[in-house]
């Protein structure tokens, strides 16, 4: 992690829907290569913030830069600099494994020869060579999620946003997924992740916890545990969000 280099800078971000304030003056930074856990109860405003940071929605006010680009004027550049994956939607089920990779890589404008080489490397690394011609629906969920993550960072984005990436995944695969996250972070990709698994919060460099539109706490897992005098992140979360 390179703490001198901020890839996400958020100052006083506000998002209102009519009278309802979904994001109430959020202020935080995320460093290059950092694994940043973005936690909060259902309805706390996480998805709203995530959509703004991905360039899909504009805030009501606030100064926000993602990958160095201004959220108001350079949203197309932001989209090219980030990757995104969620549990709900990740890959096209009626495309084959290699077709999914080619499709995503193509969207980001990568060259044909380059895509071909990197696809081979990726399939080998994930040990998916034998299933390259299978439809996504034929893969077990865990394999799909690992592939989806690799596809989301195929274009080597500065930041990857992961929205509950491990929901419903078996415990072994869930950990293999985190191995991929660590690897990406090691390679300098910033990982911005939401999860309902509190043990996964411990794997993050820093964690923020939202409640009712505000960031109530932001620190390393160790720092949060000592501030809230808690033995694990589950207790920290419960004392903030309950």
């Amino acid at each position: 992690m390179n703490q001198d280099k901020k890839v996400i800078e958020v100052r006083d971000m506000v998002k209102k829907f009519g009278d309802f304030t979904a994001n109430d003056h959020l202020t935080f930074d995320v460093s290059e290569g950092e694994i940043f856990g973005f936690l909060g109860a259902n309805g706390a405003g996480k998805t709203t913030a995530l959509r703004i940071l991905c360039g899909l929605s504009l805030p009501t006010s606030g100064e926000i830069r993602v990958a160095g680009y201004n959220i108001y004027t350079d949203r197309e550049k932001i989209k090219k600099s980030i990757g995104y994956m969620s549990q709900k939607f990740s890959l096209y089920e009626d495309l084959k494994v290699y077709e999914n990779i080619r499709f995503y890589a193509g969207i980001y404008g990568l060259g044909r020869k380059y895509i071909k080489e990197r696809t081979e490397q990726l399939l080998e690394r994930l040990r998916l060579q034998d299933v390259r011609n299978k439809l996504i629906t034929e893969l077990p969920l865990g394999w799909r999620q690992k592939l989806a993550f690799s596809v989301a960072i195929f274009h080597q984005p500065r930041i990857v946003f992961l929205d509950e990436p491990t929901g419903g995944v078996d415990p072994v695969t869930r950990r293999q997924f985190w191995d991929l996250i660590y690897q990406a972070s090691h390679d300098g990709i910033t990982v911005f992740v939401t999860t309902h698994y509190m043990d996964e919060a411990e794997y993050c460099d820093r964690v923020s916890i939202m409640d009712a539109g505000k960031i109530e706490a932001i620190d390393s897992p160790g720092g949060l545990k000592s501030t809230y005098n808690a033995k694990n992140m589950d207790e920290v979360f419960l004392s903030i969000a309950r």
Binding site: G40, A41, N42, G43, A44, P140, L141, G142, E164, G167, G168, V169, D170, P171, V172, T173, R175, W178, D179, Y182, H186, H196, Y197, M198, D199, E202, Y203, P221, G222, N232, M233, D234, F237, L238, A241, R242
Partner: protein, 309 residues
């Protein structure tokens, strides 16, 4: 007196060439809070759809309160309450309309069984004129549970009620279930969250259509035959990678701030400590620990894989 509430005997189910349930057998006693624990694709929903008479098994038999799922499906439907994984109340009916609809369908009234749902329903009563589709996730869940209970079922079947739900609502939901327990009501609940296993009287661990184990959470933990160590050091990323390549590592998994590791036969934590120091690790901390259900689940998964190989 233990009476069998749910009996599943050698039940198998195929979808095309996928074996969703592979000869599953277990029993649930009356009044038990029984957990079906496993990831997506384990077969939890298929099993629940068989018990709720929405799906027939290809092989084997299943019975609920003595009624056969094939022959006696009408009786079963009267005595079970079912909360499917997907929110399936009427979105354009209000909270109270949904509740009275479900009561009427089962030939009863909200008043008659209000005691059973009072603790839960009271929390959403302020919103009783609101359409179900406009409720928050936590409130929807409480309404769905109320609707599943309003006809005073003998068996309550809850399919992943806490999936996608935050840690606070998850805890609240389990507190509701534990309060419901104790009467004659049998509760079957499925979940992919291993920590929820500890809250059940007994659990079935399920993976890829196979039953890994059926027991109380404490017996499952007792059956774990390895010595488990919790391990941390300053650089956890490097620690994990080094241990994955260490010749005496039997298994190593991330667990919150620690790694959980088992060593090959005859190897001591002292040797491990020395080796880690040689590798340049700092602030090494090794501690003997008791396994949780998640450790046991992963151990059983790897045994199952070895059996297949």
């Amino acid at each position: 007196m233990n009476l069998t509430s749910v009996e599943i005997r050698e039940v198998s189910k195929n979808y095309a060439d996928v074996l969703a349930l592979n000869s599953i057998s277990f029993q649930v006693e009356r009044g038990e809070l029984f957990g079906l624990i496993g990831p997506d694709g384990a077969g939890k929903t298929s099993l629940f759809r068989i018990l709720t008479t929405l799906l027939l098994p290809d092989e084997g038999r299943a019975a609920v309160e003595g009624f056969d799922v094939d022959g006696d499906f009408r009786e079963i439907r009267k005595i079970i309450g079912y909360m499917p994984g997907r929110f399936s109340l009427y979105q354009d009916l209000t909270v109270e309309e949904n509740l009275s609809f479900y009561a009427t369908v089962f030939g009863t009234t909200v008043e008659e069984n209000y005691d059973l749902i009072k603790d839960i329903y009271i929390q959403i009563e302020p919103f009783k004129k609101r359409r179900a589709g406009k409720l928050s996730g936590g409130m929807k869940q409480k309404l769905a549970l109320s609707c599943a209970l309003i006809h005073k079922p003998r068996v309550l079947i809850l399919d992943e009620p806490t999936t996608g739900v935050d840690a606070v609502s998850r805890k609240e939901f389990w507190e509701m279930l534990i309060r419901l327990k104790g009467s004659d009501l049998t509760i079957l609940v499925s979940t992919p969250y291993m920590d929820e296993a500890e809250l059940c009287d007994r659990v079935a661990l399920l993976q890829d259509g196979k039953l890994l184990s059926v027991n109380t959470p404490s017996k499952i933990r007792d059956n774990y035959q390895q010595q488990l160590w919790a391990l941390r050091a300053e650089n956890m990323y490097r620690l994990k990678n080094d241990l994955a390549g260490y010749e005496n590592t039997r298994s190593v998994f991330l667990f919150g701030r620690d790694l959980h590791i088992t060593l090959k036969g005859g190897n001591t934590p002292e040797e491990l400590h020395v080796w880690l120091e040689e590798m340049g690790h700092q602030q090494i901390h090794i501690e003997a620990i008791q396994p949780g259900v998640e450790d046991c689940f992963m151990e059983l998964m790897s045994k199952e894989e070895q059996n297949q190989a």
